[in-house]
């Protein structure tokens, strides 16, 4: 705690120091660098346009949800989805977290449920622990839980895709929910997921993933990153352009696996690959904001880099596998996704090549030309975006704590930029060398509890 506060204090001093120095340390001569100015203006303009679109549209997702909720209440269509739901928990060396995840699911308010744990070539006691838990559960608890069935399978071939496909082959549910085995699932999550499938057009839904372990600085950085990216998912959902259903929380109508096949066994980000195929087939994906799942983020910077390397490499491979999704004229493909969101994603990666140096570049420009507007504007934009998201997010409980981080948000994101930059460089390097990326296995700490995570998030009573 003291270490984290010291870092925050240091970042505050750095922010104030940098802004102060821009105003105080003026150079001897007044230079003019039109090329530097051009680079900054073009770079910043694209960024502003991108964030304007996302931040303007995202809040209207909540309006749509509130409006449709009111319409359903008026028409008395408030009955829950009734079909069977199969929850798949692929687990590789998850002896610490998997039982917490199962316990969370057993507390679920949705009872027409089966839980399928797929042990994927674990070298620890995952399988043994789950089997032991199932035995005890079958003897004592099953009757109280309205006969929620728990099955544990073993998949010897390493790879999450293999594990999930095995789970799908035995699943009896009409909705398949995939959740990581290191997650905590609040009681209403499965019900909220299932209710999105009352609309027959909805084929898949992506859950609202939150980082559960915020004790370390890396945890806080990931928490803020997830807060931003899932805020932007609202915009993607409105535009019908969700192209990533993360493995931590995703729900699918069973028939899509019959139509487009199961998870890829070769792509290291089988979740992105599957989402791309769903979009390619022109099926509807929505964002289930009320289906909250807490996951355990990486606890060290090295683990975070490994995770981001896998994400970036997987995304690159998926983009290269489906070039026809870019600037597609096909009528079943969402034009916004094909002509705007995917090119922006590519631009985002290109921008990442420069972003690490961009802030230093802008600072030097400001210092040399005495034109501080771009530098100060950048800090104002990031700080304000931070504040807006925190103030308007109805789920954030401890707003003040997060708001205190807003002025140093641009520096916190600099840590994540460094990690992403590192991952990007390694991605291209490993791709060129044709190196295989393994599913990262980091040391689990099982660091969060139900009470700890729920004290940060607001769950409305009828949520």
């Amino acid at each position: 705690m003291f270490k984290k506060l010291s870092v925050y204090f240091f970042l505050y001093i750095l922010t104030i120091g940098i802004i102060f120095s821009v105003f105080v340390l003026t150079p001897n001569e007044n230079y003019n660098f039109p090329l530097m100015r051009f680079v900054i203006v073009s770079f910043a303009t694209v960024l502003l346009i991108k964030y304007s679109i996302y931040m303007f549209i995202s809040p209207w997702f909540d309006v749509y949800v509130a409006w449709s909720g009111r319409r359903r209440r008026k028409m008395n269509l408030i009955e829950d989805f009734k079909g069977k739901v199969s929850v798949l928990l692929p687990a590789r060396n998850e002896e610490l977290g998997v039982i917490t995840t199962i316990r969370g699911l057993l507390e679920s308010s949705y009872k027409n449920l089966e839980i399928i744990v797929i042990d994927n070539a674990s070298t620890d006691n995952t399988y043994k622990n789950v089997q032991k838990f199932i035995e005890t559960y079958n003897k004592t608890l099953k009757k109280n839980k309205k006969n929620i069935e728990i099955i544990c399978l073993q998949e010897e071939t390493p790879g999450k895709g293999h594990a999930l496909n095995k789970g799908i082959s035995v699943a009896k549910g009409e909705i398949i929910v995939s959740i990581d085995a290191d997650c905590y699932v609040p009681p209403n999550t499965i019900r909220n997921f299932a209710n999105h499938f009352k609309d027959p057009r909805v084929m898949a839904a992506v859950g609202n993933v939150k980082i559960g372990n915020t004790q370390t600085l890396i945890g806080v950085v990931q928490y803020l990153e997830f807060l931003f990216s899932f805020y932007f998912k609202k915009c993607d959902s409105i535009l019908g352009s969700i192209y990533i259903i993360g493995g931590a929380a995703g729900a699918f109508r069973r028939e899509i696996f019959d139509k487009i096949g199961g998870y890829s066994a070769t792509n290291i980000t089988e979740d992105i690959d599957l989402t791309f195929r769903i979009q390619y087939a022109g099926m509807k994906i929505v964002y289930a904001e009320n289906a909250v799942v807490f996951t355990e983020g990486a606890t060290t910077i090295n683990d975070l880099m490994k995770q981001r390397l896998r994400w970036k490499r997987g995304r690159l491979e998926t983009f290269l596998d489906y070039p026809q999704m870019f600037f597609s004229g096909h009528q079943i493909h969402r034009k916004v996704l094909s002509w705007l969101i995917l090119p922006l994603a590519i631009f985002g990666d290109m921008q990442l090549f420069m972003e690490l140096f961009f802030i230093i570049f802008v600072y030097i420009y400001s210092y040399l030309t005495r034109d501080y507007s771009s530098f100060i504007s950048g800090i104002i934009v990031v700080t304000s975006m931070f504040m807006i998201q925190i103030l308007f997010d109805h789920r954030v409980k401890k707003r003040a704590n997060l708001l205190l981080l807003a002025p140093i948000g641009w520096l916190l994101f600099y840590i994540s930029t460094f990690v992403e930059f590192n991952a990007l460089i390694k991605t291209f390097w490993s791709y060129l060398k044709k190196e295989k990326i393994e599913w990262q296995v980091w040391k689990r700490e099982g660091v969060f509890s139900k009470e700890k995570v729920e004290e940060n998030i607001y769950f409305p009573k009828d949520d």
Binding site: V41, A44, T45, L48, Y51, S52, M55, F56, I57, P59, W60, D62, V63, A66, W67, G69, R70, R73, D371, S373, S374, S377, I380, V381, S384, M385, M387, I388, L391, F392, H394, K398, R399, A400, N401, L403, L404, A406, D462
Partner: protein, 67 residues
């Protein structure tokens, strides 16, 4: 931190946001601002703050029977 202190910090930030919005409007319409960056930022922030405020108002309106 005590809850009332947290509330004060929260309100303070909301106040900063309101002042920021007014300043942005001022910056945006002030004729003698010659910095392109400030104009862009003013426009960007005004639009997204108004969008968020409008959306929040409508969410509360549609949820009025639940409140």
């Amino acid at each position: 931190m005590k809850p009332n202190i947290l509330k004060i910090i929260e309100s303070l930030f909301a106040l900063i946001m309101a002042v920021l919005l007014l300043t942005l409007f001022y910056l945006f319409f002030y004729p003698n601002i010659n910095s392109l960056a400030y104009r862009w930022v003013a426009a960007f922030l005004s639009v997204i703050i108004l969008s968020n405020l409008g959306a929040r108002f409508l969410v509360n309106y549609f949820n009025r029977d639940k409140l």
